[in-house]
C-alpha cells in the first residue's frame, strides 16, 4: 500500500473513489429519466421534443409517468397556485438524487402572466431548480441544450453529496 502510495504520490483511497464517482456519474448522466410534467403550452413542445424529430431518447432520457421512477422533472408550463402544491408533492415523491429543469418563461418566473392573480411566479418558489430553459415556448433544441447542461451538472458532482437547501412554500395538501 505504502509502495503504491509513494508511486502514485497521492491518497489511494481518494483516487479510487473519484473513479467510482465518474463511473457512476457516467451511468447516471446517460440514463436520466424524466417525469412527464407538461403543465401548459410548453408541455406540447415537450411532447414534440420527445417525439421523432428531436428525440430526447438519444440522450437516454425516457419519459416516465410516475414520479417514483423519474430522476428529474421537467416543469413545462405555467404553474398556478392551485397546481403549485401538487408540484411540490410530486417533487417530494421523487427519490434522491433528483433534479428539476424549469422549461419556459412561465416556469422560470411567471413569464407572460405577471399580471395574473392565480399564477405562481416561478417554480423555484416551490421546488429547487437546477436548469432554467428560457423561451416561450423553448424550441426543442433549447430543451435538448438544457438536458445537456443537466448532464454536465450530473457528471461533475459527487453523487452522495446531494443535499438540498430547504425552500420556501408549503407542501401541505
Amino acid at each position: 500500500m505504502a509502495k503504491i502510495d509513494s508511486e502514485v504520490g497521492g491518497d489511494v483511497t481518494f483516487f479510487h473513489t473519484s473513479q467510482l464517482d465518474q463511473l457512476i456519474n457516467l451511468a447516471r448522466e446517460n440514463s436520466l429519466w424524466y417525469l412527464l410534467f407538461g403543465l401548459a403550452c410548453c408541455g406540447i413542445e415537450l411532447i414534440q421534443t420527445g417525439g421523432p424529430r428531436a428525440d430526447l431518447m438519444r440522450f437516454g432520457a425516457i419519459p416516465r409517468a410516475s414520479p417514483r421512477q423519474a430522476d428529474f422533472m421537467i416543469v413545462a408550463g405555467t404553474l398556478t397556485y392551485k397546481m403549485a402544491e401538487r408540484a411540490k408533492l410530486l417533487y417530494d415523491q421523487m427519490s434522491e438524487p433528483k433534479y428539476v429543469i424549469s422549461m419556459g418563461s412561465c416556469a422560470n418566473c411567471g413569464g407572460l402572466f405577471q399580471l395574473a392573480y392565480s399564477v405562481c411566479k416561478g417554480v423555484d418558489k416551490v421546488v429547487p431548480v437546477d436548469v432554467y430553459v428560457p423561451g416561450c415556448p423553448p424550441r426543442p433544441e433549447a430543451l435538448t441544450e438544457g438536458l445537456i447542461r443537466l448532464q454536465d451538472k450530473v457528471r461533475n458532482e459527487r453523487w452522495q453529496d446531494k443535499r438540498r437547501a430547504p425552500v420556501q412554500g408549503t407542501g401541505a395538501a
Partner: protein, 380 residues
C-alpha cells in the same frame, strides 16, 4: 372538493374513491378527476379543473386591444390560430374593420393547417391513452412538418400570434405555396396509412365502438360543439352554417357521426369524425392556396392605439375543438372592458360527470380522449 375526497365510503361493498390526475398522462393536461368506483366500474367521475387557470380574461382588461393577441394563443395552445382568429373577428365586428380578402384566405389557410396539427396531436394522444404508442409518433412526425410550414409563415412553432385585428401579420413567404401543396399531397397518403395503421385496427375499434355513447339530444343540451357534437349525429358546422371569413368560397364536406363501427355518438364516431375532418381541411387549404387572391393583408388604418366605441360583440369560429366564441365588451377606451372566451373543451368537461356512470375505468380514459379536451381551454 375535499369533501368529495374525504367522504366516508361504505366498506362493505367495494366502493373506492380515487384521485385521477392532475398529473396523469391520459388526462390531457392538468385536470383532476375524483373517481368513485365500484370495483372496476365507475359510479361517477367528477372533474376538478382549474389547475391551469391563468387569469387570461382578467389580463384582457389591462392590456390594450392589440396587446391581448399573444394571450389568446395561450387559450388553446394546441391550435393557437383559432383563438387568434376568434378574438380578431370579435374586435372587427365591434369596430367595423373590414378584413381584406387575401387576409381572410390566409386566415383560413393557417387555421386549417392548425386544425390538422391539432387533430394529429389529439388522435395521437388518444391512441396512446388506449394503449398504442406508434400512431402518436406518426402523428407528431406529420405535425412537425406543419410546424415547419407555420414557422416559415409566422416565426413560431406553437404560439403563433399570427392574426391581427384587421388582417394577418405576414404574407406568404417565397416558395411556401409549393411546399404546402407538396405536403398536402403527402398528407393525403398519410391519412390512408393512418387509417390502415390504427383506425380500422380490430382491437382499437373494439376499445372505442359503443363506448360512452352520447346522444344527439344530450350533446346539444350539454352544449357540446365541434367534432364531439357532430360525432353525436348533429349536423352543424359554423364554417358552413354561419360562414365567416373566406369559408363561403370553399367546397368541403362536414363529416357527421353515423355509427361507423357501432352506435351513433360513441367514442369511435368522435374519433373518426376527426380523421375525416383532417381530409376536409386538407381540401380547404388546397382550394385556398389555388384561389388565393392578390391584395393587401391588413386593413388600412387600424390605429395602433385602438379605441373602440362602447358596445359588445360575439364572434363565432369553428376551432379544432368546436365552436369558439369570443365575447368582447368595450366601454370607449383603448382597453377592453371584458373579454371572454367560450371554448369547446369547457362544455365537453361538463358532460363527463353525467356520461361516466357505468363505464369501466379504462373507458373513462377513452371518453376523455375522444372528447379532446385541453386544459387551457377549460381553465383559461
Amino acid at each position: 372538493m375535499e369533501k368529495l375526497i374525504l367522504r366516508r365510503v361504505d366498506r362493505n361493498n367495494e366502493e373506492m374513491i380515487l384521485n385521477f390526475g392532475p398529473q396523469h398522462p391520459s388526462t390531457h393536461g392538468v385536470i383532476n378527476f375524483i373517481v368513485e368506483t365500484d370495483g372496476e366500474v365507475l359510479r361517477k367521475a367528477v372533474p376538478d379543473v382549474g389547475y391551469l387557470h391563468r387569469s387570461i380574461e382578467k389580463i384582457g382588461e389591462v392590456t390594450g386591444w392589440h396587446g391581448f393577441m399573444p394571450f389568446t394563443d395561450r387559450i388553446d395552445y394546441v391550435a393557437a390560430m383559432f383563438p387568434n382568429e376568434g378574438y380578431a373577428t370579435a374586435v372587427e365586428r365591434l369596430t367595423g374593420i373590414e378584413v381584406p380578402r387575401r387576409a381572410q384566405y390566409l386566415r383560413a389557410i393557417s387555421c386549417e393547417l392548425a386544425r390538422i396539427a391539432s387533430h394529429l396531436v389529439s388522435l395521437g394522444t388518444m391512441s396512446m391513452d388506449i394503449g398504442a404508442f406508434t400512431p402518436m409518433l406518426h402523428g407528431i412526425r406529420e405535425r412537425e412538418t406543419i410546424n415547419d410550414l407555420i414557422e416559415a409563415l409566422c416565426g413560431a412553432r406553437l404560439t403563433y400570434n399570427y392574426h391581427r385585428i384587421g388582417g394577418v401579420a405576414f404574407d406568404l413567404p417565397e416558395g411556401w405555396k409549393e411546399r404546402t401543396l407538396a405536403f398536402l399531397d403527402h398528407f393525403d397518403k398519410f391519412l390512408v396509412e393512418f387509417d390502415r395503421l390504427i383506425s380500422f385496427n380490430e382491437i382499437y375499434v373494439r376499445r372505442l365502438a359503443n363506448v360512452a355513447v352520447i346522444t344527439g339530444k344530450d350533446a346539444v343540451d350539454y352544449g357540446l360543439v365541434g367534432p364531439n357534437l357532430r360525432g353525436s349525429g348533429v349536423d352543424w358546422d359554423v364554417r358552413r352554417d354561419l360562414p365567416y371569413g373566406a369559408y363561403d368560397d370553399f367546397e368541403f364536406a362536414v363529416p357527421v357521426g353515423q355509427g361507423f363501427k357501432g352506435t351513433v355518438g360513441d367514442c369511435y364516431d368522435r374519433y373518426y369524425c376527426r380523421c375525416l375532418e383532417m381530409g376536409e381541411s386538407s381540401k380547404i387549404v388546397r382550394q385556398a392556396l389555388l384561389q388565393l387572391p392578390e391584395g393587401e393583408i391588413m386593413a388600412p388604418k387600424v390605429a395602433r392605439n385602438l379605441k373602440v366605441e362602447a358596445g359588445e360583440a360575439l364572434s363565432r369560429v369553428e376551432s379544432a375543438r368546436g365552436e369558439m366564441a369570443f365575447y368582447v365588451v368595450a366601454d370607449g377606451t383603448n382597453k377592453a372592458y371584458r373579454v371572454r372566451a367560450r371554448t369547446g373543451s369547457f362544455t365537453a368537461m361538463g358532460i363527463i360527470e353525467s356520461a361516466s356512470p357505468g363505464l369501466m375505468i379504462a373507458d373513462l380514459v377513452a371518453l376523455i380522449a375522444s372528447l379532446d379536451v385541453v386544459a387551457p381551454e377549460i381553465d383559461r
